[in-house]
Subunit: 257 residues, 4 copies
């Protein structure tokens, strides 16, 4: 084996460093640790490092080997360790790991009390850049939005729809996924459930009608709460409403810090 | 050039014919002829032929060459001719061409009269099988659906959402795309528009509330109309409602003929 | 609660039965039982039943409730039981459950012996129609294909690419997912691995070059094997090659039984 | 009409401005002007403006109205005018329009000289921020990449695959889409074609083999050229190789300026 040429390790003469190089969209089973316990899910993993100007190529197999060998449940702390281990193995001063996965939690229907799972899209990223470590938590929360204008101007009814609210948080201290879900769901016209009995359906219908929100209201009300949280160094909050009266989306974004 | 081996034309000994072989998802600009005139759009094109047991491979470049050379606006008639030309060039007794593309039409807002485009997904397929020619028209129409149960049981409001109604029609005679759009939109809780002024928004909100439909109602009401149309040899009607109170869809399908 | 109207259970007068009605794309964590053990994964679940002409609507919440309550690892047998239970709860003579999920298995690199996971897309479907039960196993296997024509006509090299081979099997008896993976991977120009060291990369490069296959060869060689398997009542085998020299795919399909 | 409440125009008390609010993913037919003439295509359009803290909501219909009324062929100049007109109509000091669309150009096969279209993904963005106007051109170019390591260590053959090279350019002066396509295609192991005859296939197979490139080489060679272009204020170049020996991608990115 030692006689096989190592092309990647040869010297590069173009004098151009590479910001990020590695593997993208490796599908991998992971265990996520969160406030509600450990859950098994499937991640799309992207792992990249900085490559200095002198080196022709990175060692792609080391990224996959690292995922194969790691046995920790994923949380903010173990992700930090994983990023450090990647930098060591790839001999690089900077790099990033992102894991995107569906996350579930058990919800309780508002009247019947019946329980069911709801699915969210979560992305955890850890990055070393310029010697500092950055942890980013992104959560996509599907909710109901009901249009205040439609309600106000119509004799009855109001158009409503599913919306995707996406929070991207740069955290100084640990922020639980479930906290973010709670925060977003508390600010929607109404939250979603996997399973609703008729009294629950009555409840969510009326709650959404009592609680109309423009796409602008959604991002403002969430931003107001995030700005008070000292653990959050910077955030972006986006809402995309899949309008039930159009074939395009309404969209709003607030970025802070 | 004549000295380059033609591997595809060599003899195959496995004695297994291939039902369909060709190219898939060739992106190509096309001009579509319809009742409202000619429109330029972009299609994803799939072209396949039957390959007899004796031949090792088809000639992939001929499919692309055919698309490059064809200059006709696409309609039911020109698609038929295109399929026949493909079979001639590929020397095959059977084959199929499908073109999927966004289709637009100008709509007029119900109160203000303001005009705007709405986009639909259309798929035209022509196939020769067992010596017969089959023309299939598939149209995906986005509409508003409003839940009758939610309306009935709630003091005010009713959950509604965008729905995708998909009709797949095997036609004996020409059926215009616009006819299908009209048919589906007439049966929805309300139809969609690109552009609505406030009086229009009031109108569509109230119309949807006055006209609640389960996913079951949508497919039944459309099926009832399609069954009366003698030009339609067979059909499937599907509706997928992107429920505003859940994170999954409600779905119904009726197949006939 | 008992005073809330049950709109779905009211009488329908249109006299049109519905072939399939239910929920679509419910995302749900599942445990899959296979030859290599039990694995946790995330499924997209579609559950539908036949609805007779007299009934206005099905009971959507019962589908989700069934998923919430079921505790069995998924395999052919437990899927059959789940379909039966769905028909009982929905009081319907016919219906279908499909679960699509990523499936992983540990593979061993051909020279170094290093192990890594590879991911596949699997769909299990169970359906009762006309009183009979049908089990369908669909597996998408990513492989390498290398073009025989390109190899033959070129002085050196040959274009190759990732291909998706999809088998859809109607099974009379139990067929393990891993058996299908083995069958497809044995017939490709070369199989894929998550992790390859340099001696492995040399091996797979040379193996693919020694083993060129047209998209036609791939489906024929697999069909030849499937036709000999008495457990398989009917099958479709498709291959889509994401051509490295074009921006479209080559495609072939054989359907049998 | 004047008696209908204008909820959006009411006063907002939360004191939170919104960075971007508007419409997302409006599908719309456009005509694009480029060096090779005018072509008709279909865009996904996103249009947003800054909303000051005092205003409750933007006027969503004005975005769509603007697209409906605009009649110019799209190029850098007309996009700039469109952004300015949007800011005027929405009464905002900042905003952004992005249009993503498939773009085609006629290519000539390297030996036979036969012509065919190839499709690319282009995104044009114009933004006013802090009083300055920024024009961004993004182009995704599909190419062939052939692995230098695989070639070096193997007795014959080398794994190759389709790659997506994406350039995102902030331009001080006009940069034609076709220039970017030329630049990227000149640096790939080989470029793609819609239609190749056998002598062409021999040519591209051998050319790719003679011209191996790691994902790192691709982004470095392109970055070296971009850095010399004074019209380009800043750029990002990314390459994603859909590895034919793995089921994940190799990825590299260089960002500059």
């Amino acid at each position: 084996m030692h006689t096989i040429a190592d092309v990647q390790s040869s010297k590069d003469l173009r004098n151009i460093p590479i910001n990020q190089v590695g593997i993208k969209d490796l599908r991998f089973p992971i265990a996520v640790r969160s406030r509600s316990g450990i859950q098994h899910t499937i991640a799309a993993v992207t792992m990249t490092v900085f490559l200095n100007a002198e080196q022709k190529g990175t060692h792609m197999s080391r990224f996959v080997a690292l995922m194969e060998e790691q046995t920790q449940e994923l949380d903010a702390e173990s992700l930090h360790a994983l990023v450090q281990e990647m930098l060591t193995r790839l001999d690089s001063p900077a790099g990033k790991i992102s894991l995107s996965f569906p996350f579930f939690r058990k919800k309780t229907a508002p009247v019947s009390g019946i329980q069911s799972l709801l699915d969210y899209d979560v992305k955890l990223s850890g990055e070393v850049r310029n010697g500092s470590y950055l942890h980013t938590l992104q959560v996509l929360v599907p909710v109901t939005s009901l249009c205040p204008c439609s309600k106000e101007i119509s004799q009855y009814g109001a158009h409503n729809q599913r919306s995707h609210v996406t929070l991207t948080l740069q955290c100084r201290a640990d922020v639980e996924i479930e906290e973010v879900l709670d925060l977003v769901e508390s600010q929607a016209s109404c939250q979603l459930y996997g399973l609703l009995k008729r009294p629950d359906e009555k409840f969510v219908t009326e709650q959404a009608y009592e609680n109309p929100k423009f796409v602008e209201d959604m991002v403002r009300d969430i931003a107001a709460l995030l700005r008070q949280d000292e653990r959050i160094a910077a955030f972006t909050v986006e809402s995309e409403n899949f309008e039930s009266i159009h074939n395009h989306s309404a969209y709003a974004m607030i970025s802070h810090g």
